[in-house]
């Protein structure tokens, strides 16, 4: 699915000022109004040079009215209309100061002083305009979209510039360069016109469009992407790589330029007179190549500022306007002296994106080999390929930008499944693969990925690989090293044999006797081979592939070797449609390959709601007269599908108790609700409180500030003037409220729906399915008690082929599936009585009994602790169930079991990922743990994976070894043209087995109470304004990998600096001194073994784990932001300490005390280094974790806690005293350095102001 061109984004969030009294200034405006160039604070409020009653703003009129009175004329550029608002100036002034501060104080700026001075002078000369971007400057469109139509007020200004004929590039040496605009030219073309061949050194271009929007695009050969072209009047900032301007500086600069006029800025009289007039470039040579004239070589003087404008006012009109317009029907010709950009045919001005396509295995790659490329997060891919004798069907998902995972069925056409199982059916192998990106591509380094094939399966095709990919224009090159099946040709020696000879051999049947085992002892072992290739995308529709295969097909599983005439494979992909690729190739030099890929982004899934009632347009007026609450409630229900149970009034608050409100697009639904309320509620109501209840349990209140909400719906305002109109809050019980209305509860509901179920890849047939009708029914006995059930009638199926019953060594709690689906066409999957209750504020309980799922009936209950808006929740469910008869009617079988789990729910706050950890007893009586990890995208689609490991051995479990699966949850809101609260859940398990089987409960308190999390309101339809705005809410800053890289660089700088010599010598000295106690304390440990000493020792050794868990919880937001930042530092310190100490271990390789070789046994680098005694990782990590908190909160006792770890390590005879001392010093030292780094980032930047003032700036 092709994504649209990136929407323009505002990169820097303005700091919201406190409410200031706006200066009541002269109402002003006009066409071509001059701005105050030298006065940074005046913005656009200077006197108008041309003002008339016609053009002047009338306070209180809308922009649309003003535009109708002053329609843009020939030569005007309405898209560039600047609306300047006083309230926006403070944030922009702060932005400007931040830029200046960064120019002078940022440690990571490499620009020389001259460049900084030039840029600073120029920035200082730019006014703070208070410009607020407008949506579409079309009076008639604004009239129909009042929420985008501002109301003009005193102090506002409008600047309607003439359309210039140029685009202005701000070079990274601080010099502006104006280039004639040429339609169809992208940023790189303008860059080449200004700086010639040096343009190839620029990786990113920030384009500030005339309408005030900022866009950022990759423009180098390695990262070129589809992009908007700069419009006339646009700014371009595209620093060269060597200039090393920090990305955040570029973001801020572009954001500030967006507040300026979209005209080339004339030279301003800066105090130092170092600014250079804009120089137009020389015309291209006759060969059509661009002249590479250096800056200023052939300057064409641009008229300087009017010297009479001492206050800095200057002619706002661009140079194009100085030339008389020649033809109102054609664009104004480029101004005299400006350069025509001549685009050479060979110039890569057309940016084509990288084209990730699937390989034979369904993963992004070439043909048989993978590449390091990834699809965008949210992509789902169905792939089918055939190359004799293998047919592969894959389902691959991209839950994160850096992780690709999927499952695959491989049919081996010349091998049977086994006559005792499946007659003549060919052999089917199931497997799970994944690929993980280790590093993103940069200008100089390739993208790097690591992957594994056929893990957790039979291991027939298991392999591992490391692969790198580098792009150059339309070519994408890859080179990798493969092990196992990926490197089956074995053309090179396994490099890991340098460390250990055991890497030379790979054990056969890596999946274990039953398959499904993760045979870690086999990873990166055995035959090894290089692989690689190139793909070339000459157009959007075609991709050519050439690869060097790492497999020679002479070591195939099942003895199935293939004739192999060439290691080179050749292929072509035709992109028939946006989500359909067709592939053909020639592999092994002799075999035809055909493939088909269906792919699309689930994260972009959306359908317009054509069947929803029309949205009631809010008016700025408030209703008068009495309210008909029944009518309001009916309209409310029609718009929202919510049931209003009560309407209450307390002062200026109107509270509605809403039942069963959950829907994925909650904010959208709330807006509809408020639109109805606003139409009906008395004018003196100032707040709406939507009190959401689920089954009678109050969960949360959503509070709406009516005036602010109405303002947002009916007019456009600057960001600084807006407040959050809709806020989620903890539910507060009603006090002294007047009940205005009570609505009836819906007691009975039923319906008819289609149903579908299927089983894939079984020996009886690849697809076994049933299509039918189901009737979900519910009878509510009270708000919190109801009877629910579902009857199902199968209509069409192929279950006559379903004969195979999988073997099992456990009670057959799931493997009788065949009997359950074939015994009867009419079934009763569920029929149960339910009761829920809120126990206080954060606790919830449920009881249920009946036919709980198709295979089991019984009774059960659940308790859940779920604080409001917490990252964590904890629940326990307990059930006693009995197996049902196969006909799914009312009979029961003999088998019964008590099953239940304790579950920890953790919303990680990272990529909107939820982790569930459940421990307990399963249906077959086995005990173990289930881990479920799911990521939910902004449109509500969820991708998840789960795995269960119990005390059942792999042999007992049977084929597959343990239970695992992948699931998708797709809200119907994303698929249907009407709003719905339901979801489609699709689960894939490679095998149905009895181990690790959980009861499928229809009533789960965590789902029922999902509105306890404020994040429930974050989801929006893909492509909507709310969905696009979610990007702005993302946390700024580096990824964890970026943080690691940055802190690693900082540590290296510090450790290898001259200042580090003294502390390093001191540490070495302390360690040496402590060695005198090695033997005495080792002897003491020998004498204090067993009993309570061991208990104390074990407990002390667990201290680092406790510290790590605590730091992790604080990082995730258990406390405040300060604690979270400190925890982040401590975790980074622990990571670096661990790495440094592992390296030291390998280098020193000291024998542990338990070896009995004494404290002086050092074996040097080599085998066994990982078990080295020196230094103590436990101590190092403990101090690394404790030090940032000890320093931040002045808590030296934390050092004592960390030091207690040493007792345990010595008592357990794992370390000598000097190991412990060395470990603690390393941990303390690394953590202290990182604390300094954090302080330097958050500390103030001191700058000298233009007025000789000393200024301190903090960045938050």
């Amino acid at each position: 699915m092709t994504r649209p061109l990136p929407a323009a984004t505002t990169l820097a969030r303005p700091v919201r000022p406190s409410r200031l009294c706006l200066a009541v200034a002269q109402v002003c405006i006009v066409l071509g109004m001059p701005t105050a160039a030298g006065n940074a604070q005046a913005g656009g409020g200077a006197t108008a040079s041309v003002a008339s009653a016609q053009t002047a703003i009338r306070a209180g009129e809308r922009l649309s009215d003003w535009l109708l009175r002053n329609p843009p004329g020939a030569g005007d550029d309405p898209a560039a209309l600047a609306w300047q608002v006083p309230s926006a100036r403070q944030a922009q002034a702060e932005l400007k100061q931040a830029l200046l501060a960064q120019l002078w104080s940022a440690r990571d700026l490499q620009a020389d002083e001259t460049t900084r001075q030039r840029l600073a002078d120029w920035l200082r000369s730019l006014p703070v305009t208070g410009r607020v971007p407008l949506a579409i400057v079309d009076a008639r469109w604004l009239q129909a979209n009042p929420d985008q139509d501002p109301i003009l007020a005193p102090g506002h200004a409008l600047v309607l510039p003439q359309r210039p004929g140029t685009v202005t590039l701000l070079a990274d040496d601080g010099r502006p360069c104006a280039v004639a605009h040429r339609p169809g030219t992208q940023a790189r073309g303008y860059l080449q016109a200004c700086i010639g061949e040096a343009a190839s050194e620029a990786d990113m271009a920030w384009i500030v469009q005339p309408d005030g929007r900022v866009q950022r695009f990759g423009i180098a050969t390695w990262n070129a992407e589809p992009q908007s072209e700069p419009a006339p009047g646009a700014w371009i900032w595209a620093p060269r790589r060597s200039a090393a301007w920090p990305e955040d500086f570029s973001d801020r600069l572009a954001t500030f330029l967006a507040t300026q006029s979209p005209t080339p800025i004339a030279a301003r009289a800066a105090p130092t007179q170092t600014t250079t007039p804009i120089a137009a470039r020389a015309a291209p040579t006759q060969t059509g190549t661009l002249a590479s004239a250096p800056v200023g070589a052939t300057p064409v003087a641009i008229p300087p500022s009017d010297p009479t404008s001492a206050a800095g006012a200057h002619d706002e009109r661009p140079i194009a306007a100085h030339a008389a317009p020649t033809d109102t029907t054609a664009p104004a010709p480029p101004p005299v002296g400006a350069t025509q950009v001549a685009i050479s045919p060979s110039d890569p001005v057309v940016a084509r994106p990288g084209v990730p396509t699937a390989n034979d295995w369904g993963f992004i790659g070439l043909l048989q080999t993978p590449t390091a490329r990834m699809s965008p997060a949210g992509e789902l891919r169905f792939h089918l390929s055939r190359v004799e004798p293998y047919t592969r069907g894959s389902v691959v998902a991209q839950p994160f930008d850096w992780l690709e995972a999927g499952f695959r069925y491989t049919s081996v056409s010349n091998r049977l499944y086994g006559p005792e199982i499946a007659g003549s059916q060919s052999y089917k192998d199931k497997s799970i693969d994944f690929k993980l990106r280790l590093a993103q591509e940069t200008a100089h380094t390739p993208a790097l990925a690591i992957g594994m094939t056929d893990i957790g399966g039979t291991g027939l095709f298991s392999g591992e690989y490391l692969v790198a990919s580098k792009r150059s224009g339309d070519f994408d090159w890859s080179l990798g090293l493969g092990w196992g099946y990926v490197g089956n040709a074995g053309r090179v020696k396994n490099p890991f044999t340098w460390f250990d000879d055991s890497f030379a051999e790979r054990e056969e049947g890596a999946g274990g006797g039953s398959g499904g085992e993760f045979s870690a002892s086999n990873y990166f072992k055995g035959r090894t081979s290089f692989f690689g290739g190139v793909q070339y995308a000459p157009s959007d529709d075609w991709v050519l592939k050439l690869e060097y295969d790492g497999n020679d097909y002479q070591n195939e599983p099942q003895g199935n070797n293939q004739k192999h005439d060439s290691p080179f494979n050749l292929g072509v992909v035709y992109r028939y449609a946006s989500g359909l690729d067709l592939t053909a190739g020639l592999e092994r030099g002799n075999t035809l390959m055909l493939g088909l890929t269906l792919h699309g982004s689930l994260a972009d899934l959306t359908v317009p709601k054509l069947l929803d009632p029309s949205y009631p347009r809010p008016l700025s007026t408030y209703p008068a007269g009495p309210t008909d609450w029944a009518r309001m409630s009916a309209e409310f229900a029609e718009q929202t599908r919510w049931s209003v149970r009560e309407v209450r009034r307390q002062g200026t608050d109107l509270q509605l108790v809403v039942e069963e409100p959950y829907t994925i697009y909650l904010r959208d639904r709330i807006d509809r609700a408020v639109a109805v309320l606003h139409l009906h509620a008395p004018a003196d109501v100032r707040r709406f409180v939507l009190s959401f209840h689920e089954r009678g349990m109050p969960l949360t209140d959503w509070v709406v500030l009516r005036d602010e909400w109405v303002a947002r719906q009916t007019r456009y305002r600057a960001h600084a003037e807006q407040f959050e109109a809709v806020v989620a809050a903890e539910h507060w019980p009603a006090h002294s409220q007047e009940k205005l209305w009570a609505g009836p509860a819906e007691r009975f509901s039923t319906g008819l729906e289609p149903s579908y179920s299927q089983s894939l890849g079984g020996p009886d047939g690849f697809i076994l399915f049933q299509l039918g009708i189901t009737a979900p029914t519910e009878l509510r006995l009270a708000d919190d008690t109801w009877l629910s059930g579902r009857a199902n009638l199968g209509l069409i199926d192929n279950y006559d082929k379903f004969e195979y019953d999988g073997p099992s060594n456990l009670p057959r709690v799931r493997t009788d599936i065949r009997k359950y689906v074939t015994e009867s066409d009419l079934t009763l999957p569920t029929l149960q009585l339910n009761h829920v209750r809120a126990l206080g504020t954060n606790q919830y309980a449920s009881l249920y009994g009946g036919y709980l799922e198709p295979m089991f009936a019984g009774v059960g209950g659940e308790w859940l602790y779920r604080p409001w808006n917490s990252h964590f929740a904890f629940g326990i469910d307990l059930n006693h169930v009995r197996q049902r008869d196969f006909d799914q009617h009312f009979g029961l079988r003999d088998y019964d079991v008590t099953t239940g789990h304790a579950t920890l729910y953790w919303h990680t706050g990272w990529e909107n990922t939820l982790v569930k950890l459940s421990a307990g007893q399963y249906l077959a009586g086995d005990r173990g743990v289930t881990v479920d990890i799911a990521r939910q995208f902004d449109n509500g689609v969820k991708m998840g994976v789960f795995a269960t490991k119990t005390d059942v051995s792999a042999e007992e479990f049977g084929e597959g070894s343990f239970d695992k699966g992948i699931y998708l949850s797709i809200p119907f809101d994303a698929m249907l043209p009407f709003s719905s609260a339901r979801t489609a859940d699709i689960i894939w398990r490679p095998l149905t087995r009895d181990g690790g089987a959980m009861l499928s409960r229809t009533l789960a308190l965590f789902d029922l109470t999902r509105l306890r999390d404020r994040r429930a309101g974050r989801y929006a339809p893909a492509g909507s304004q709310a969905w696009l705005a979610l990007d702005d809410d993302r946390e700024d800053g580096r990824s964890i990998w970026g943080e690691l890289g940055h802190t690693g660089g900082w540590l290296a700088d510090k450790i290898f600096s001259p200042e580090a010599v003294r502390p390093l010598l001191l540490g070495a000295g302390l360690t040496g001194l402590s060695a005198t106690l090695d033997r005495p304390l080792a002897d003491w440990a020998d004498e204090h073994q067993g009993g309570s000493w061991d208990t104390l020792g074990e407990a002390a050794s667990l201290i680092p784990f406790g510290l790590a868990a605590g730091a992790g919880a604080l990082w995730m937001g258990l406390a405040d932001d300060t604690a979270s930042d400190t925890a982040r530092t401590s975790l980074l310190a622990a990571g670096w300490t661990l790495g440094a100490q592992l390296a030291t271990k390998y280098a020193v390789n000291r024998a542990r005390p338990e070896a009995g070789l004494g404290p002086h046994e050092f074996r040097g680098p080599g085998n066994g280094g990982s078990d080295s005694s020196f230094p103590s990782i436990h101590m190092g990590v403990a101090f690394a974790l404790a030090t940032p908190f000890a320093q931040k909160y002045d808590a030296p006792w934390l050092y004592g806690l960390a030091a207690a770890t040493g007792f345990g390590r010595i008592q357990e005879r794992q370390h000598f005293f000097s190991d412990v001392v060395a470990g603690s010093l390393m941990g303390y030292g690394i953590a202290s350095l990182l604390v300094d780094e954090q302080r330097s980032r958050n500390g103030p930047a001191i700058t000298l102001g233009a007025d000789r003032s000393l200024q301190a700036h903090w960045m938050f």
Binding site: A144, Q209, T328, P754
Partner: protein
């Protein structure tokens, strides 16, 4: 549709499910069954096989040429704007591809074209050619097309509803990109077709097919069809 079938927790609103099937399999003709308010003027527009109604909001003078025919401003229910001048699309706002600042001062009147169409002409010869400049959304500014208009026979496969194509006079405008030149991404040949009712000298453009870009083509018909 497979998603619905795969669900075990589908909506209980069977009415909406049936309407969904209707939308999916009948091409979304809900707008055709709407009862227009006689107080307003409508355009029936079809985009990607789905019909909707636009309502006339304003008739504005041409800001560049006061003597030129007025510009009709049509609105969708979502507040999108389509501007027509003599049946030609001269501007849009709020669509996925917008046209703005469209100028074609040399575009011939339909009267002259109707008259020209009756004259003997070599097959395929254009009745007239002129130049059109415009801006497009996504910051494509200063786009110039050379347009040639041809009289054509009533075509098949249009979205015209309620009228016999043969009862109207058809013209086709072919736009050849000049700036940026063909081959540049986004510089595509666009085609527009017009169906005119010529009645006792009165000419009315009753049907327009117009592509704003390679991804967005729409048809516009005066509605209800008379």
């Amino acid at each position: 549709m497979l998603a619905i079938l795969a669900c075990a927790a589908c909506s209980t609103d069977s009415t909406n499910i049936s309407r969904t099937f209707e939308l999916a399999y009948r091409g979304g003709s809900l707008a055709d069954r709407a009862a227009p308010n006689p107080a307003y003027r409508y355009l029936r527009t079809v985009v990607d096989g789905r019909s909707a109604l636009l309502v006339l909001g304003y008739t504005d003078p041409d800001p560049a040429t006061p003597d030129a025919p007025p510009i009709e401003v049509w609105y969708s229910a979502e507040g999108e704007v389509v501007r027509l001048q003599q049946g030609r699309v001269v501007g849009t706002s709020g669509l996925s591809t917008d046209w703005r600042s469209t100028r074609a001062p040399d575009a011939p009147t339909w009267g002259s074209l109707v008259a020209s169409a009756t004259q003997d002409r070599a097959a395929g010869q254009a009745l007239a050619t002129w130049q059109r400049t415009r801006d497009e959304s996504a910051y494509r500014s200063g786009v110039i097309d050379r347009i040639s208009v041809h009289a054509i026979a009533a075509p098949r496969g249009t979205e015209l509803a309620g009228l016999a194509p043969e009862s109207l006079q058809w013209f086709e405008e072919r736009a050849e990109p000049i700036v940026p030149p063909a081959g540049t991404p986004g510089a595509v040949r666009l085609t527009a077709r017009y169906a005119l009712r010529v009645d006792s000298g009165a000419i009315e453009v009753v049907y327009t097919e117009h592509c704003l870009g390679p991804e967005l083509c729409l048809s516009l018909q005066r509605w209800p069809a008379r």
